[in-house]
């Protein structure tokens, strides 16, 4: 155990109040159908290029999250956002409409966890009353940038994952904001039918940012295997430092390890004597019907965890079905160039503990 193995505890327990989710066609028809705030049947969102479609999804997601609270952007003190496209242009363009200071993030597919950690830091410290973490990924813009043209007729390996089309915006605020609480209860009573309602019980309790881990994997078609050691490393550090064991949690959910990474993470931790049980899940395995939709190893991308966490897991915490959840956002920190140069893929995994309160 090194002195850097530190769990950041948020004594003011920042709360996730509102989440806006935007999904593409395959996600809308996937294993968790129809739970997102909005979707588009042709994945273009009315835009001429895939990159602009992705920006539009971010704009829609944050608008949905704000609209649920009946807020305008003036209530937000900070925006943390990131995506997979070079120089995070999807976030830069997508958040143009919002008059809020914006800090860009890059954590590949772990961006959501990174964003939630950053909002929790700033809100917990009292610098801002509320902040938002926004992220997106689009299958077509990611395919274009990292792999082949969208219409190229290639075969994907069984280990490859499908980049999720979607965006999520998570608004995190101080628990003690009285006017928020009143509005929340008001708004909650008014709109029970919303796909993912407002949250009054979801708190961010702890965070443990990950380290960059490289384990020799250089196959960009098997990102799950590249990310598994990072996820295992963060979990191992967390269990060691906190003195807890997997069965203490209702759910331990990773971002987008997919079939390969999920299996390998379990095996790596088992070697260290930590046995993950049935409460170990992965957003990439939950989002699609892998057999019916032919999704190979599952979903990936920033939006993978954003959609599953925002529209599926957080409502479960809100209802009290899950009371103690470890969310581990996983990311492969490679570029097309690093892969072409044959470098092994570094990966990262950020841990966030979410609780019902």
């Amino acid at each position: 155990m090194s002195k850097n193995d530190m769990i950041f505890k948020f004594e003011n327990k920042p709360a996730i109040y509102s989440v806006g989710t935007v999904a593409g066609k395959k996600e809308w028809e996937g294993a968790l159908p129809g739970i997102y705030d909005c979707h588009c049947d042709d994945d273009t969102f009315g835009m001429p290029t895939w990159e602009q479609s992705e920006s539009e999804m971010q704009r829609l997601a944050l608008n949905h999250a704000l609209a649920k609270l009946a807020w305008d952007d003036g209530k937000l003190g900070l925006l943390f956002a990131g995506d997979l496209i070079n120089q995070c242009t999807s976030s830069g363009y997508g958040l143009l409409d919002f008059d809020v200071p914006f800090l860009g993030l890059f954590g590949a597919c772990s961006t959501l966890a990174e964003g939630i950690i950053m909002t929790a830091f700033t809100v917990n410290a009292g610098y801002v009353n509320a902040a938002a973490a926004v992220t997106s990924s689009h299958n077509c813009s990611a395919e274009r940038q990292f792999r082949f043209p969208v219409e190229y007729g290639g075969q994907r390996t069984p280990t490859s994952q499908w980049t999720v089309t979607g965006a999520g915006a998570f608004i995190v605020g101080r628990r003690s904001l009285l006017d928020i609480e009143e509005k929340l209860i008001e708004a909650k009573n008014a709109s029970q039918s919303q796909p993912s309602p407002l949250f009054t019980h979801v708190r961010i309790a702890e965070a443990m940012p990950g380290r960059s881990i490289e384990c020799g994997m250089n196959d960009a078609n098997n990102m799950g295997a590249a990310m598994a050691p990072a996820a295992g490393d963060t979990l191992l550090r967390y269990f060691t430092v906190s003195g807890t064991k997997p069965s203490d949690y209702d759910l331990i959910i990773t971002g987008d390890l997919g079939y390969e990474g999920h299996r390998l993470t379990g095996e790596l931790l088992a070697q260290k004597g930590i046995h993950l049980g049935n409460n170990f899940a992965d957003c990439g395995l939950l989002i699609y019907d892998r057999e019916r939709q032919d999704m190979h190893a599952g979903g990936s991308g920033c939006a993978c965890s954003a959609l599953v966490m925002g529209a599926y897991i957080l409502p479960k915490i809100e209802r009290g079905e899950l009371r103690n959840v470890l969310f581990i956002g996983t990311g492969a920190l490679m570029s097309q160039m690093s892969v072409q140069q044959g470098l092994p893929i570094p990966a990262i995994a950020h841990l966030v503990r979410l609780i019902y309160e």
Binding site: M1, S2, D5, P48, T49, R144, F148, P149, V150, E151, Y152, G153, G154, Q155, R156, T157, P158, T159, I213, C215, G216, M217, D219, N222, A225, A228, P229, G232, D233, L236, R237, Y259, E260, R263, L264, L268, L269, Q271, K272, D294, A297
Partner: protein, 152 residues
């Protein structure tokens, strides 16, 4: 802290990874590739009686390339290729798809720096090394002929 992964992690991850079913892939590729070639032979038989051999040799690939570009644009080709693999890749359809899909993809970046420079991103290596291989083949053939001529 000791790294969590084993020293031979990469080997282990690759060994235990899910594999494609080679037999099924081969059968699919054989059937689709065979169907494309049969179709091309049918075109050949159709054209040769009416247009002569020289025009036919030109027209058969042209028809295949056109159909590939059309189905690529309509978004059908990649759905077939996903199952067919080498069956659609090896005939001229694979080459046509590589070019047309890159062209469609990069049109938003402009005619010169987008479409113009990126149209051959996938097909470019095939053209370069195909030409290079044909040059080497030509030289070898030339030397063989020289040797053959000397022997005679």
């Amino acid at each position: 802290m000791i790294p969590i992964y084993k020293k031979d992690y990469k080997k282990y991850a690759e060994k235990t990874a899910q594999k494609s079913n080679v037999l099924v892939c081969c059968i699919k590729a054989f059937l689709v590739g065979g169907a494309i070639c049969t179709f091309a032979q049918w075109l050949y038989n159709m054209f040769i009686t009416r247009l002569g051999e020289e025009n036919t040799r030109l027209l058969v690939p042209v028809v295949l390339i056109f159909l590939t570009a059309l189905t690529t644009g309509l978004g059908w080709f990649d759905k077939l290729a996903k199952h067919a693999g080498g069956g659609t890749l090896v005939p001229i359809t694979g080459f046509a798809n590589a070019i047309s899909s890159a062209a469609i993809d990069s049109k938003n970046e402009g005619w010169v720096l987008g479409l113009g420079s990126k149209i051959f991103t996938i097909a470019g290596p095939v053209i370069l090394y195909g030409t290079l291989a044909s040059v080497i083949y030509g030289v070898v053939l030339y030397l063989l002929k020289l040797a053959g001529a000397g022997g005679a």
